[in-house]
Symmetry: C5
Subunit: 358 residues, 5 copies
């Protein structure tokens, strides 16, 4: 996981400079147009952005969605068709933008962060959305396309979504993006539970620590991206854009509630992860205590004994003197030494028992 994932130009570059995504070519990107009214439905893949122009004059809702690495030319082309500000186009191409909502007279420009779990890594995909009267253009730089359930709902003639305008479509797109957070958090929750169980039942491994660290990193990443999303949604709800129908705003508030709840969960996970580090440190030091207790018990019992037997391994008895280790010559000398040693052991054991070390 890298720490700095923002795309940026060399300082001093003119604003609105567009640079193609890495690996971008005409084949890599997928431009899909959906045009619908309550009764009609057209869906097609576009080869070039220009093909969409014929749909714009109609009264139907037109949704143009680009998926994959994008070329600067295509974006510039779309920009000129829909009359979009170069700074906005730069934001579309420069990944890692902060989520935001910009309200203009007859245009809404929204940048959202969509979290996704991929290969046990959490990625944040940027989705940029323009909404004008009767059209939505969305750009998704990621590789996996999560918008299929939405397209299926659009294809059904009886769907409520078909009877409403582009503002409701925008809501459904945003709702889908926000709700991607739930499975991500669910999987993070399982991750934390696993670590917790490992820490409280088994012994701490070094990998446990790096797992906690990784989860903390992912939570920070999520929070950095979703916190401004909350703000953006709030502004959208209270901005009172004329492009928004009054009846759609209750749906937007639902989106806002979901975002707040996801952020609440992230905060809690962060606290639990911090608490897990405490437990990790505590449990290693607890374990050290246990290890040292065993060592100390063994060493403290046997070191004095070894000294005693060392005493009677001395060779002083070769001196012809009554002072030269007379114990060696006693009839019961040997059993007596054993007696002394056993007494020492018992004393030690009693001491440790009293200290509550067993």
């Amino acid at each position: 996981m890298t720490y700095f994932e923002k795309t940026y130009h060399t300082p001093g570059t003119a604003p609105g400079t567009l640079v193609s995504h890495e690996g971008a070519d005409l084949e890599a990107v997928n431009i899909r147009l959906i045009d619908y009214t309550e009764s009609s439905f057209i869906e097609k893949e576009l080869a070039t952005a220009d093909e969409c122009q014929s749909f714009l004059t109609k009264d139907s809702v037109t949704w143009i969605h680009m998926q994959g690495p994008m070329q600067a030319d295509t974006i510039r082309n779309i920009g000129s068709i829909f009359n979009l500000h170069p700074l906005m186009l730069e934001d579309v191409l420069n990944k890692g933008q902060r989520p935001k909502v910009e309200e203009h007279e007859d245009l809404l420009f929204i940048i959202m962060s969509m979290p996704a779990v991929f290969d046990d890594e959490i990625n944040i995909d940027q989705v940029s959305i323009f909404m004008g009267d009767n059209y939505i253009i969305s750009f998704h730089a990621g590789t996996m396309d999560p918008f299929d359930p939405l397209r299926n709902r659009l294809r059904k003639k009886s769907g409520r979504i078909r009877s409403l305008k582009q503002d409701y479509l925008l809501y459904t797109i945003m709702d889908l993006i926000i709700d991607q957070g739930y499975p991500v958090l669910e999987s993070l929750g399982y991750g934390i539970e696993n670590i917790e169980e490992t820490l409280l039942t088994a012994s701490a491994e070094k990998t446990t620590l790096s797992a906690i660290h990784k989860i903390r990193h992912q939570l920070i990443l999520l929070r950095r991206n979703l916190w401004p999303q909350r703000e953006a949604l709030n502004r959208l709800i209270h901005g009172g854009s004329p492009l928004f129908n009054e009846s759609t705003s209750i749906y937007l508030r639902d989106c806002y509630d979901h975002t707040v709840q996801i952020l609440d969960l992230i905060e809690n996970y962060r606290e639990m992860a911090a608490s897990l580090v405490d437990i990790y440190i505590s449990s290693t030091s607890y374990r050290l205590n246990e290890i040292m207790r065993v060592l100390t018990i063994i060493a403290t019992i046997f070191i004095p004994l070894t000294f005693i037997v060392g005493v009677y391994g001395m060779n002083f008895d070769i001196a012809e003197s009554p002072w030269a280790m007379p114990e060696l010559h006693w009839y019961f000398g040997y059993p007596l030494v054993w007696g002394v040693m056993i007494a020492t052991v018992i004393a030690m054991v009693v001491y440790f028992k009293r200290k509550d070390w067993f």
Copy 2:
């Protein structure tokens, strides 16, 4: 305790999609209707939601309460009788919602979190309440019914509650839900006191740590659920809904005070729990110090002695040389070695005493 307890639909599902609770069937759920004025009182269990319709036209206050796992059909049915927005019905069925208050023209929609201790675990039950003119509908997905004291007060003819409208009933329901927090916090308080006593008098166990961790988790869970409840109450008090009688608002403020006080306590408990982790870590490292002191004293006294007796266990005396361990041949060699060893011990003991290790 699981970390992610929210029910959610697959991203992209149409808003307002209703899914029955797990284990929901017509027997599991209990629908109870109470209809009262100051003089009349009717209480009955309903088999289907439709039965309530006859009570709605009357001037009396009607309280319909559903308890237990609910079926999507029943909820949809009630929704159509009372003309409730599908998003609200979805909120009723999807457990783990954030507490909130939604004010609509002639309807108040409230989601509350009710904490309950069950089997040493803290559960958060969701209670969803709709209040319209002359009626209240409440949904409680939990298994234990705490509303009996309230029903008893309603049954008494002389009760103040009977002389007032549905807004006062709403207050009593909310008050009861909020006050469930007191016994929960009381039991958490005892838990913290127990751990504190264990840590400060006895020695730290590994289970102590997991007990602290569990309490922290429960406190985080409580806070996440009660913090938005405080906001919701605040909005209810200052919202000035026409469904609320002026004289009821002093009671709501009492509810608000209770919520704030419970949150204050949660914050304090959280701090004390964090302080307990410090104590846990400190006391394990203090204990390690004690263990190491014993080991060091024993080892430092006996290792040099063992060396000394080892010296005179060497076999150099077989060499016919005056340099070959002459001490072994001294008349007072053996007592002299003892003297050296006793002197060593005394020196060590003096050293340790001065270092304040005894």
Copy 3:
């Protein structure tokens, strides 16, 4: 010290239910009435609350003060004389309320927390005050009476306090309650200084830790009670109650300043206490280092020596072979071994010196 000191009713109890304090009887409680104008002064102990009624019609300021465990009946009686809301009376009896100010048309209801040191424990006494036109009723559930200095000032005919109305009396009562915080903080400050000195000069004891923990607990308790008191005072100052004379408000601001300063000190103490835990942990681990250094020096010097003398304690020389420990037969074998051992010790000491372990 207990964590949960709030009195609460079983959830579902009707609001305004009054329960006597534990140990409350007519003897335990002391009702004292003071009635004064600039020229007149009456002070008497009342047997029942009804006796005060004769004083209320007069133009003089009447102060009724109850001290000690209270009976529900007495409170209900006073409530009906002065026309007080049942929820307020419930608050008076249920100890552990959050400090607050409630402004009503011709009544001010104030709950304050008064800290007091008793037997090295910090208690928070609840003082409830009602102020109407020309009267103040105050309830203090604690056992020690701190209001004597105030009564003495009232008894003096020339006192400024006698020439002013009940709002100035309220201020003096609140001022006295708030200023109780200073001696409490002074004693806590000494406590922290003592612990600090112990930690930085002597060695850490296990009792030091529990002393820090206790101080942290007391600080949290104080903060929880005084923080809302600050808010309440602020609201009182800016509320513009008609019961308050303009010239009194500068005095209230002085009260507010004191409260803020006490809270500032509490915050600082909390930080210093947290810093003391760091020092405790650091000093135990520092001490462990010292212990281990001694052990390591002794062990590392003597273990190799013990090995060397062990070598020459082997009995290989009985083999009739030139390879069988020829050293034992050398003329200078024994002094040579001593030389080797002394060289080993010197090498070790040099190594430790370079590692800066002495």
Copy 4:
């Protein structure tokens, strides 16, 4: 350093009670009057406060400055000359006040905290300032007088300060007080750098820890005093007092900027000091690791060797049995044991190398 340095009266004392500073007498205090217009300049030391009265009626700016421990009588006297509220006079005498600005009709009352390093200790001196039309009265309870540079600027006829009114004088006094923070922070910065260097290059001493703790304490003290000063300045700037000339307010904003910058630095220092504690703890535990590694290497190499030589120190060979230590009788027995021991050492060394312990 003491934790509780506030002067306070016994709770219940009448407001406005004045108590002389410790050690206050007429000699100890220094009252200095400066009276100036653009063209005139008078400077004299006053024996009593009454002497200043003759200057007040004039159109010139009069600055009366008291330095040193003050007597209650003198303060009361000044209070009656300038008609100051008793609560203000109490604030002047009770040291340890929170910085604040009080705006009255024709009077500005300001309390400021002036930090000063003295003998490696940081003291906070209280400076109380009254500004009325054409006069400033300032009280400084400390011992060192920092106002000389300011007086020198006043003495110069050409100085800009002489051509302006008392509001500019007030600004220069406040500026001087605030700028005392820079040298204090500079010295604290050096202190932190020293500790940092000690920790990262040499080994941690116990005194290092108490040095960090002292710096943290000083930073907390500074912050507690300067934070409300910032608020007070802000209120002064936006208060729009008629006593303040419009052109002076840009200077006040400069003061405010300095205060904010000093507070920024304090926050950073606090974070760095907290980080130093982390480093202290880490480096002691790192050092412990190193010590234990040495012990473990030595012990783990020599303990098995000592066992081996111990085996061949046994006396079984006296048994006339082919099983009784035949190794002792082998021709190459002794060199073989050495071989085994050297192999053991090599194995251990390889093991430690692989574990990266050398």
Copy 5:
């Protein structure tokens, strides 16, 4: 890295006192004038500030940029030409100012902090900018000139920047300054990743700790400087200065977005750095555990064995007694001792296995 890098005057110095930068002389500083309209372009280096006067009356945009250590005289000179307040000039010369925006009638005074990596150290250069009608004066006290890309854009006749006024030039300057933060954060991000990898794969070194500490210090430095920059930009955007064209404000908002994003990243880095300290501490204590486990296993196995072989090294057999170590005379005594020892080892190994120590 020093902690206190602010230039300040001795407290009591008159406001607006100008002191030359260290090493400032006429050669060191570089004054560059650019004067342009859409069609014309003049660029020249000025010897003295006075030369610029001829350009000011013209309708073209004039940009005067000073780079390097500055002399007080030059600054004073410019101040008098452009009629700048002495406090502003003092701010230009006193490095280490807090970023701010001051709006005056026909002048905008901006101080910005420009981070730059130099030799693995992060420096904060102060850039002071004055914008009046048709002119910009900027002062950069640092040594490296980052403004070349901007000058290149100005030199191109077709550049958008040439067709706009001085407000757009101001934006491009500010944009360039702010965007310097990206490469700095990128390099800090790599630094954190490196430390993370070291900590999680290899073993912790003492230098790792000082690297973390340095990064934390740098992050604090950055945050202290960029946080007020965010505020300043916000004020600029919402200030509605008449010097700013409406169409430029969308560009300013882009600047603001960049600053916020950089601050977001700094916060995250700070959290990750704090988490790294946890890992450092955890991994040293984990490593200690491992070391102690090895020591304990070796010691606990061999200490009892050494005792056993010590027993049979005693010389009691010289006593002519059946109690004197009869084991030595047994036929299978020696193999039996080996048996006992092997059994001991097996028991120990089983014990350790069960304790999960291998």
